[in-house]
Symmetry: C2
Subunit: 479 residues, 2 copies
């Protein structure tokens, strides 16, 4: 589309949004200007991911009332398509959310075909005088958090994005670390050091974290324990020495919460990762951790109800999750999984590598039962002969043929044959009535849940490109 038509579109959108703000101003005493804005993004969190977690948390009640945002007074859904596909990627969707512009999949705050740069709501708000916090459970230069300060033709330019981080001047980056902090080949100047040279404090210990308080600024605070791509460990694996997304959120509130007002984005990034590998139980625990982070904002809202706006939404759905296979839905069965697919896969790989102590099929199945409940009839998880045959084939893929998935990347790219780990996860999901259509994103509209000052602006037809001007209208200050 030409620049002119883009301009016309923008003007129409602008007049459309002005119209909304006019009509909402016409409501006497209705729209209040929020001073504290929280944007929570459950990456890959469709309505079913969220609703399944409700049911899992409270399986004896059909109500599923346990997630705090489930009670928010405005609930809606929105479309997420990108400029070039019905199915968006995270960087195209976050570009739409944070700048109001649709772009092509893979691009980050850049136009679809030219290199025009878009600016994010966080950059705009920072210039307006708001403090800014960016929090994620995955790498802080991964697509979603990067979508508030990074501007690159490809979301995969992690190093270049890392170099943009200190240029933002944002007050608080918290959670995951820097992916490719020394470049793709590890031969570049350390991006952590560059950030420090530019005036950022880098904290990566619990002690340092605990000492942070109101007024500290230009912070890059990373979880002391990070996995290969600078992300948090899986919540389901309960790794000690770890800080939670909720802790990074409440610390952000403490640091930013002065009289200036703030905009804080918090991403539950591994909801998406769990859905990519169709690991339902790990997804549930990631949503639970995400909800706890929302709850920190909600507690703040209760103290400042007239000045706080909280939005909980997603960038897209991942996995095409459906709840119910031929009338069967038993979310409570998910409680018997106590390990992430990824960690169990690593366990299997260690067994395979330990050539001096070959594990028998029966030994391996004991571990499957311990970690997934599968084979335990009392738990409602007896295995049929056909199901045992699937496990035998998986054992051969792992131990004999060595054709099964090996690395984290294999999971994200869904390469390789199903080994024991994927077989166990798939089978438990099937028995629980969790059906997955895909290992990738889907086009299904995603939910939004809104509470607080200005929430009445989010009731109508929503698309991910509509946040930017709504935020601007709500946050614009008379000068």
């Amino acid at each position: 589309m030409s620049k002119i038509s883009n301009l016309v579109l923008f003007m129409m959108l602008f007049s459309f949004m002005n119209f909304i703000s006019l009509t909402s101003e016409a409501k006497p005493g209705k729209t209040q200007q929020p001073k504290y804005i929280f944007l929570f993004i459950g990456d890959g969190m469709g309505q079913n991911q969220s609703y399944a977690t409700n049911l899992f948390l409270n399986p004896t009640s059909k109500e599923g009332q346990s997630l705090v945002y489930n009670q928010f007074p405005v609930q809606n859904f929105m479309t997420t398509y990108s400029a070039n596909d019905y199915i968006t990627c995270s960087s195209a969707s976050i570009t739409a959310i944070s700048t109001g512009h649709k772009t092509n999949n893979g691009r980050l705050l850049k136009s679809p075909n030219t290199d025009s740069t878009y600016f994010s709501i966080a950059e705009w708000a920072h210039a307006e005088g708001f403090n800014i916090g960016i929090v994620s459970s995955v790498g802080i230069n991964h697509a979603t958090p990067a979508g508030f300060y990074g501007h690159q033709n490809s979301r995969n330019m992690y190093y270049e994005i890392a170099l943009e981080l200190p240029q933002s001047g944002f007050e608080y980056f918290g959670g995951g670390g820097l992916i490719d902090s020394k470049g793709k080949k590890g031969d570049q100047a350390d991006a952590y050091a560059i950030a420090q040279n530019k005036g950022y404090q880098w904290i990566n210990s619990i002690e340092g974290f605990n000492q942070l308080k109101y007024g500290n600024s230009n912070l890059l605070v990373t979880n002391p324990i990070l996995e290969a791509e600078a992300e948090f460990p899986w919540v389901i694996d309960s790794i000690a020495g770890n800080l939670s997304l909720a802790q990074f959120t409440s610390k952000g509130i403490e640091i930013l919460g002065d009289g200036k007002g703030f905009f804080m984005m918090v991403e539950g990034g591994k909801i998406d990762w769990a859905c990519h590998s169709n690991d339902g139980a790990s997804m549930l625990y990631e949503v639970i951790a995400f909800n706890k982070a929302v709850n920190e904002a909600y507690q703040f809202y209760l103290q400042h109800p007239d000045e706080t706006l909280i939005i909980v939404t997603a960038d897209h759905e991942t996995g095409g999750l459906a709840l119910g296979i031929e009338k069967n839905l038993k979310p409570e069965l998910m409680q018997y999984q106590n390990i992430s697919l990824q960690k169990f896969q690593k366990k299997v790989e260690m067994w395979v590598a330990d050539s001096l102590h070959p594990r028998s099929f029966e030994e391996v199945m004991q571990s499957v039962q311990f970690h997934f409940g599968l084979g335990n009839a009392q738990k409602g998880l007896a295995l049929s002969n056909e199901e045992m045959a699937l496990f035998k084939a998986a054992y051969r893929n792992d131990f004999v043929n060595h054709t099964s998935r090996k690395s984290d990347a294999d999971y994200l790219d869904h390469e390789g044959a199903n080994g024991l780990a994927q077989t166990a996860v798939d089978m438990l999901n099937h028995k629980a009535g969790f059906s997955w259509a895909s290992h990738d994103h889907t086009a299904t509209p995603v939910p939004l849940y809104v509470i607080g000052a200005g929430s009445e602006n989010f009731t109508g037809k929503m698309d991910n490109s509509m946040y930017f001007s709504k935020f601007q209208n709500l946050m614009k200050r008379k000068k």
Copy 2:
């Protein structure tokens, strides 16, 4: 400027103009009492069924703006669980919608374990002086329409429900006929005759339909062409001599639309049936017909914006539809199917029965290509060797082994092996990126779309049991 961007501009302008007309309605702050209430129920229509239809209608644009209710100013989603299951059936959900009470699956306006009777919003509104219209594209004593006048321990007591119909005194029943009108065994007094004896006019011709006008009352108006269970033919099959759901809706408006005010329920009943057999294309055409019925109400709303309330929702999702399989989504491929699964199945059965003229695999595949596009590389529907092998197996199931699905009931109960019809439908759906998790209902929350007087009452957390009191509050008249 390209055609596509012109289209986008037009659609934005359209939505902008719509927005102006939307905002010229009820002043916020004080709820207006609607005089004309429309409740549209897309049976089995989850968010993906609806969104897929948007995309199918307008495949060159990612916007998917084509369904009229997609522009309604209040959009939300709601939970649908029944008293005894996460996954509801139509009768339990319609009981919740029409009476505010959760009950067990299978029951109709009766309490879960005792025989306490619930009364519907239509019965209450009728007593308050509203005219009542009940319209469906399936049997008018099928669960959803029956949920406004029938009270039975089982939704399957069709004959008993049919006998309740004339007792309701409702002004207008339109659309499908009476299932089991002479009882399950065909040995009871004709329920049509009983209705006539009780003062109902039964009209089942286009001439009779056309003569109906404002002021006619106690009407049972059935489509001249009905299928085995008293339902409309499939929209995709374009059967002549047939009246549409939209025609029954506009006729209802004409008949009921006097000064008293009315409550009209309109069900798109075969959306659910198509989803039960995972027949995506047939589903799309049923949603399109449903949307045309909504449009009749919307045109009425435009003339009476301060007095009309329209709600478009669903009783549950069916099929666990996901949009996108491993990044692939091509809704436009669905245009190549031009026959319902059910009708194609009947065609195959006729071929099988015609023993004097055995059809070869190649002959049969020509018909598959004609009706589904499959095998046509120009349409993007080339068949691989593996896919041809599936068709060969299906041919054997139909013509050699005689093990494939035979009857309508087989589809609803998903009995039998996949024959050619199901294989063709499944393959087209897969190529279009439509994934189905189930042949039955799922627990996924369903959308609602609301416009008009009182619409601001539907923004918060919604469950199917919350309509009844909202309707009562909106419709209660000071006396």
